[in-house]
């Protein structure tokens, strides 16, 4: 619901639903909130049934805080653990059949552009590794090849968490899971490379043990998707249950995995760099003065 269309008329504030008033008066609607202000404002996300200490939950929480315009954002999800939380936020959530999230988001983002013109409406897909790299694979790839302008976030817990531990394309080779007792026989899929080949304008990996970095990549991905093209974030969001990680060790696990196979990487296309610099003042993407570039005189 956008503040541009639903305005508070003087004297009628109290007739607005409390949840909406909270978001406007004490929450992120209509103003900038940052990760460093957490604990001091009312978050759009509310209670949900995801497991205690789940890193995916933390990532979703941070991602929603990082949305540049939460009141003009629509999230799209699919079967899997994440939707249990994403659906419990004061942000419209669209849920379809398992794996159709990028097809739904393509239609949605096109429809919103027809309806609202150049006023940005951000569409953000958040789906599991199974939903993204296995069941939704062809829709994901097609949306990228078609340069559909929305953000795809993979919540990569390296397993089908919601259904009790089957291997996914993103599970590591050799991993033994409850429903993959012989160990996975193939390598983890390289979805990052595929995103680049398919022409995504922004591709990043992130781990939730660095909240400010999560904030920064989500902001960039959503802004770039407004005009430049598809953006992809792959986040390691461990599953305590299927990988038997004690909940107070979840961040230690994240650090270990970050050092092992989830180092921070960020690819930004030249067009996206220019757009971020010119439209949103990102200094790091301003063209470097010629003298600063070695061997390129």
């Amino acid at each position: 619901m956008s503040l541009d269309y639903v305005k508070f008329s003087n004297g009628f504030e109290r007739f607005m639903p409390k949840e909406y008033r909270d978001m406007v008066e004490h929450g992120p609607f209509g103003k900038k909130v940052t990760v460093s202000q957490m604990g001091s404002f009312k978050e759009a996300l509310e209670e949900h049934p995801m497991c205690a200490g789940c890193a995916m939950t933390l990532f979703i929480r941070l991602a929603i805080i990082a949305f540049p315009n939460p009141e003009d954002t629509i999230t799209v999800g699919t079967a899997g653990c994440g939707r249990l939380a994403i659906s419990q936020a004061a942000i419209p959530f669209v849920y379809g059949n398992y794996g159709d999230q990028n097809g739904v988001a393509s239609g949605l983002s096109r429809g919103l552009r027809l309806r609202f013109g150049d006023k940005p409406k951000d569409v953000v897909v958040m789906a599991g590794d199974g939903g993204t790299a296995d069941i939704g694979f062809q829709q994901v790839l097609h949306s990228w090849f078609r340069k559909e302008r929305f953000t795809t976030i993979m919540l990569d817990n390296e397993v089908y968490g919601n259904t009790g531990g089957q291997e996914s394309g993103m599970t590591n080779r050799g991993a033994v899971l409850k429903m993959a007792p012989l160990g996975k026989k193939f390598e983890k899929m390289d979805m990052l490379q595929m995103a680049k080949v398919a022409g995504c304008a922004y591709v990043a990996t992130v781990v939730p043990n660095n909240p400010r970095r999560v904030e920064s990549v989500i902001k960039k991905a959503v802004l770039i998707a407004r005009e430049v093209g598809s953006t992809y974030i792959q986040a390691y969001t461990s599953c305590n249950i299927e990988y038997a990680i004690p909940t107070d060790k979840v961040m230690e696990d994240a650090k270990t995995v970050e050092n092992d196979r989830y180092q921070f990487t960020e690819y930004v296309s030249e067009e996206a760099k220019q757009y971020l610099a010119e439209r949103y003042g990102y200094k790091e993407f301003l063209p470097k003065p010629a003298a600063a570039i070695p061997n390129k005189a």
Binding site: D22, E25, H26, V35, S36, Q37, M38, G39, S40, F41, K42, E43, A44, L45, E46, E47, M50, C51, A52, G53, C54, A55, T57, L58, R61, L62, I64, N209, P211, T247, D248, K249, V250, M251, E252
Partner: protein, 107 residues
């Protein structure tokens, strides 16, 4: 009974780094109040927990012990907390929240 996180205001207020708030997986759960430490003479405010939201994962204990190096959070049986913050008793100000503490035991 079950465990929930409990912030020791005296210890937290000496540092008040707000790190735990950024790592709790649950939204609107670890809150921050600028008054909470100050009314007891401390320079900064303190983090506190909306215990009805806490799922008892102890991730915040790890954050305070290992990242903040301040050991201000302990897991505590909910019926051993004298008074605690509950979501309904929290109000939001411009830069901080205020909690009226009450018995966490409902009914």
């Amino acid at each position: 009974m079950y465990l929930v996180a409990n912030v020791n205001v005296e210890i937290c207020a000496s540092k008040s780094c707000k790190l735990c708030t950024q790592y709790c997986p649950e939204a609107n759960t670890i809150q921050y109040s600028e008054e909470m430490g100050k009314e007891q003479g401390f320079k900064y405010g303190s983090a506190y927990i909306a215990v009805d939201r806490c799922k008892g994962c102890a991730l915040c204990v790890w954050v305070c012990d290992s990242l903040a190096k301040n050991n201000a959070i302990k897991m505590t049986m909910i019926d051993q907390l004298p008074k605690a913050a509950l979501t309904d008793n929290i109000t939001y100000g411009d830069k901080s929240t205020t909690a009226v503490l009450a018995s966490p035991m409902v009914g």
